[in-house]
Amino acid sequence: MRAHPAATIGGDGRILTGTAAAVAALLGVDPVVVRLGFVVLAVAGGWGVLAYVVCWATFAFAGPAPARRLDERSDTRRDLGFALVVLGLVLEAGLWGWGFNSELVWPVCIVAVGLGAAWRRFGSIEVASLVESAETDARSTALRVIFGGVLAVGGTASLIGLNLSFGDWIRTMLGIVAVLIGVAVIFGPTLRVLTTALVAERRERIRADERSVISSHLHDSVLQTLTLIQKRSADPAEVQSLARRQERELRQWLYGDRDARVGTVRGAFEDMAGEIEDRHRVAVECVVVGDRDLDELSEAVVLAAREALVNAAKFSGESRISLYVEISPGRIEAFVRDRGAGFDQATVAEDRRGIAESIVARMERAGGNASVRSSPGAGTEISLVLPSGEPT
């Protein structure tokens, strides 16, 4: 447990041991007010002496720490609060005559210990570590609450056990209220400052987390790709392919909601188009209209479109292929088009016909159909229609 920065004696402004000055600095009130308080309490039954000794012992054992600057320790509001605390204590003491009262000493001491613990909690620990403990140390918080509760109940019970008359009861209550108001005035601003600092700290941390996520993403993706591009600069096709893949990934990361795309027809088509771009070093201009959940039938359209794209990438001689998909309720249409070599459908080579046939067969199994339109020099378009798909 570290000491509060100001909870040290022998610093500036000492008259006797410097205890009053230390208390004043700690609470942020004028030392004169603190000294007056000690004196008044000492006269009112010797409490001031007890308090002085306790404070001195506390600070003496707390060890040295940098003293608070003089210009920030005085505050009229805090002076007023301190005066109210003293007034309350005097009222209590007046009730019990001028002298030590063993029955009262212990309840008051318990309250003092509780307040001291609270002050050390808020005053002595840096905000950052306080935030840490507020988030991670739920068990110690629970312990503190239980401890405080026991103290409060015990103190109240011991006061009730004193068998007070009605007048005494009212005066006791007044005293307690005065003390509480004083404490609130003293600690209120501190608590507010702490809360504000806590919120600011949390926001700053969230921002830092975001920054680190972004930088690590950029490092894993863009920087790696840029390095690769430099190494492979002799191979334009490879460089193009790398740049295209990186662009797609970055675009998806920036604008696309990855999770929302999983399991949808749109997502399946876009992923498939990306895979073809990588594998066959072509640009696939993929435009999808509408969307619905992916099922077995719609997956068949994706696979058929994939074969059509592979076909175009291998045979058209074009580096750009258009893929247009329209998903409407009860119907999926896909068009794969290139402006490449094209072919005469009557005299097509055996292997090429095989691909076209496998596309047609796949679509027919799913309950749809496929048609190929091509002529030499005019490019090729393969149309896929799945009419019976269920609407979402």
């Binding site: 675009r251 604008y255 696309g256 209209v289 258009s322 247009y324 329209e326």
Partner: protein
């Protein structure tokens, strides 16, 4: 060609500007360049070009602001949006502000020159992506407030679908057995609807789906 078109290129990346100028400089006169919205407004006001190639994203406000500040004083200056962004909300914002078309930065040089000429002639230029975006936006459910503006005609839809499939205007004309002029007038009509429609689905759609 007797008169070469005068073009201003607005993009915050100098490297990209240089690339574009090199690609189109043989065919068109690049009379000015700008790297920010403020610079663009100044250069356009001074040069009064035929066409402005406008990046969607600029450091101080974006292409939208440029169109808004120039359009009132120079209604004859036409804008062609050029972007890698593909965020639907950005593109729709630019088209609604008055851009005559939208193409992606990966467009080839001859296509870009063709698009600039088309825009200079007052036609609309749709990339396949923009066409897909239009179809998606106008087909989303919801009853139209003004059917004349909030819906596409069957023919307009057909034209948009062919554009999304990668067809050029010439190919669309052949496919639908209509003249190129008719294709162009359909495209312009769609662009006008896109700019004038008040249907809230459009805005909502653009926000929900950030990718065209």
């Amino acid at each position: 060609m007797s008169e070469r078109l005068r073009v201003v290129v607005v993009d915050d990346h100098a490297l990209f500007r240089r690339g574009v100028v090199a690609e189109i400089g043989d065919e068109l006169d690049v009379v000015g360049e700008a790297g920010s919205a403020a610079e663009a407004v100044e250069v356009i006001g001074r040069e009064i070009p035929d066409v402005v190639l406008l990046d969607v994203h600029l450091p101080d406000g974006g292409g939208h602001d440029v169109i808004v500040s120039v359009a009132a004083a120079h209604p004859d200056v036409r804008f062609l949006a050029l972007s890698v962004s593909d965020a639907a909300a950005d593109v729709i914002g630019l088209v609604r502000a008055g851009a005559r078309g939208y193409v992606t930065k990966s467009i080839s040089a001859p296509e870009l020159i063709d698009a600039i000429r088309r825009v200079a002639d007052g036609d609309a230029v749709f990339s396949p992506r923009l066409a897909g975006f239009v179809l998606d936006a106008f087909s989303s459910a919801g009853s139209p407030v003004d059917p004349a503006l909030d819906q596409l005609t069957a023919r307009e839809q057909e034209v948009m679908r062919l554009l999304a499939r990668g067809y050029a205007y010439k190919e669309i004309a052949r496919e639908l057995s209509i003249s190129i002029k008719t294709v162009e007038s359909h495209a312009s009509a769609v662009l006008r609807k896109l700019q004038l429609t008040s249907r809230h689905e459009l805005a909502r759609w653009a926000n929900e789906r950030r990718i065209i």
